[in-house]
Symmetry: C2
Subunit: 255 residues, 2 copies
DNA sequence: GATGGAAAAAGGTATGGACATTTATCGTGC
DNA sequence: GCACGATAAATGTCCATACCTTTTTCCATC
């Protein structure tokens, strides 16, 4: 009866121990034993309950975190954020997280920069005045250098950031964000608006694009159909991985 | 000089040790020091090289695996499968892996089953004869129970599998595959063809679908525009996680 | 009451060891 | 030559322990 290797609430003895603990905890999360918003017991407590080591508990919790059940914070604890799993695919895809991923995990190549005068439509889009002088920066986002092109992007930068434009020509990098750090530590973003647009045919030819992957087709079609998608990226260089992203539609979609 | 906490090839001392080792190994993978197809040094060897423990090496290798650089097999070693990172998103989405994920990570609810006679178009689609008696099974795939509907699916099953049809009515489960295991161990698949179709409006109403997430919109639009997408799933119950999937277009798309 | 620092609590990182399980290989015996 | 078993090698799992870092709490001080 009291098999020392058994796990409370889980009779089966197949597979590694952390997997069984994982299942037990998952059931508790789904069943509401650990309500959304609450803190679950600490690693030490769980290790005591399941009569195992902290290592094993951590392996189980790793799964729960990667499946979107909990978030963990040093000094605080493990908080329940969902009572159901989110596949990586849908969790990211159904929210802004996916675009966040695209922003930080992909590769941006700038094709050209040019000085423009805002027309009426652009002025409204970027929050400027018609006739005002801005810079237009065009680029293509890739899955990785030499990988699959994702979308064609036009960004708009106010003229007061003119001094950064030379930095842009030929820029290639994992992402694209222009920031100015002022003496008081405040960070100002140069790129005001980024439009993801259907890729012009000539650019497609120029880049020698094969008829793209699903990712390209889907994303491009979505962005196209939505009209315009505006995204502004903010990057905090002081922090290793703190990115913030705000996305809004330029015009309400018909839905 | 010979700081014991430093890592070969990496001068910086910021962040945890495994993160620095991670970067060094990543550079070697990108740079071709560890060529694609080869086995990288074992955990023990790496631990010795970096003067650290196996735990730390494993943390670093975990990252490399999760980013698509290497695959690891017990009893064999760690093999290089790519010299560049693949974001989870694009790696899966750009290939069949994504649909594989959808197949195993989502939830299938069968709406109805009915007996039909093949018309000419269907006959060609499923590889039967016009007038032949088959079964049509309609269902909706969800991200999870009660989650987001992904697509509406019609499946076709030859009449000789009639005995399995009663099992289907009301079926709900993580995936949908009907298999027969013969006495010789051979496995035969009951479901011949699965069509992903635009969801009928009445079903949408019946299910009370909110205007869906991106995932729904994108996937549905893609499937719709492609006309018909045929997928056949094969499931090997003998193996815990061996799924095979074959996908082909019913009709050549215009591209 | 506001401030600052100490202390506690929690997860994060790391060591060193042990044993289990899987896989490939090699040799032996048939 | 083939089958089979032993063996070695590599990753997988697990333990006990220690210390670090972050966050919160709370108390003493001003």
């Amino acid at each position: 009866m009291a098999d020392t290797t058994s796990v409370a609430g889980e009779a089966g003895s197949d597979g590694p121990r952390y997997a069984r603990i994982q299942k037990v905890l998952e059931e508790r999360l789904i069943g509401g034993v650990y309500p959304v918003g609450s803190l679950i017991p600490t690693e030490i407590e769980l290790a005591a309950e399941f009569n195992t080591s902290r290592f094993t508990i951590r392996e189980a919790l790793r799964y729960l975190r990667e499946h979107g059940y909990v978030e963990r914070r040093q000094g605080v604890g493990t908080r329940v954020i969902s009572s159901s799993p989110h596949s990586t695919f849908f969790r990211s895809f159904g929210s802004l997280e996916e675009l966040f991923q695209i922003a930080v995990e992909t590769y941006y190549v700038i094709l050209y920069t040019r000085r423009i005068a805002l027309d009426a439509e652009l002025a409204e889009l970027v929050g400027g005045l018609p006739g005002e002088e801005w810079f237009e920066v065009a680029g293509v986002r890739w899955t990785r250098p030499g990988g699959t092109p994702i979308c064609y992007i036009q960004s708009y930068i106010p003229a007061r950031f003119e001094h950064v434009i030379p930095l842009l020509d030929g820029h290639q990098g994992p992402f694209f964000a222009l920031l100015e750090r002022h003496s008081d530590g405040k960070i100002e973003e140069a790129v005001q608006e980024i439009r993801a647009l259907p890729m012009p045919a000539e650019i497609e030819r120029q880049l020698g694009l094969s008829k793209g992957s699903w990712a390209l087709q889907l994303l491009r079609r979505y962005l196209t159909d939505q009209g315009v998608l505006i995204a502004s990226f903010n990057w905090h260089p002081s922090d290793q991985m703190v990115y913030m992203m705000h996305i809004q539609r330029a015009k309400p979609s018909v839905d």
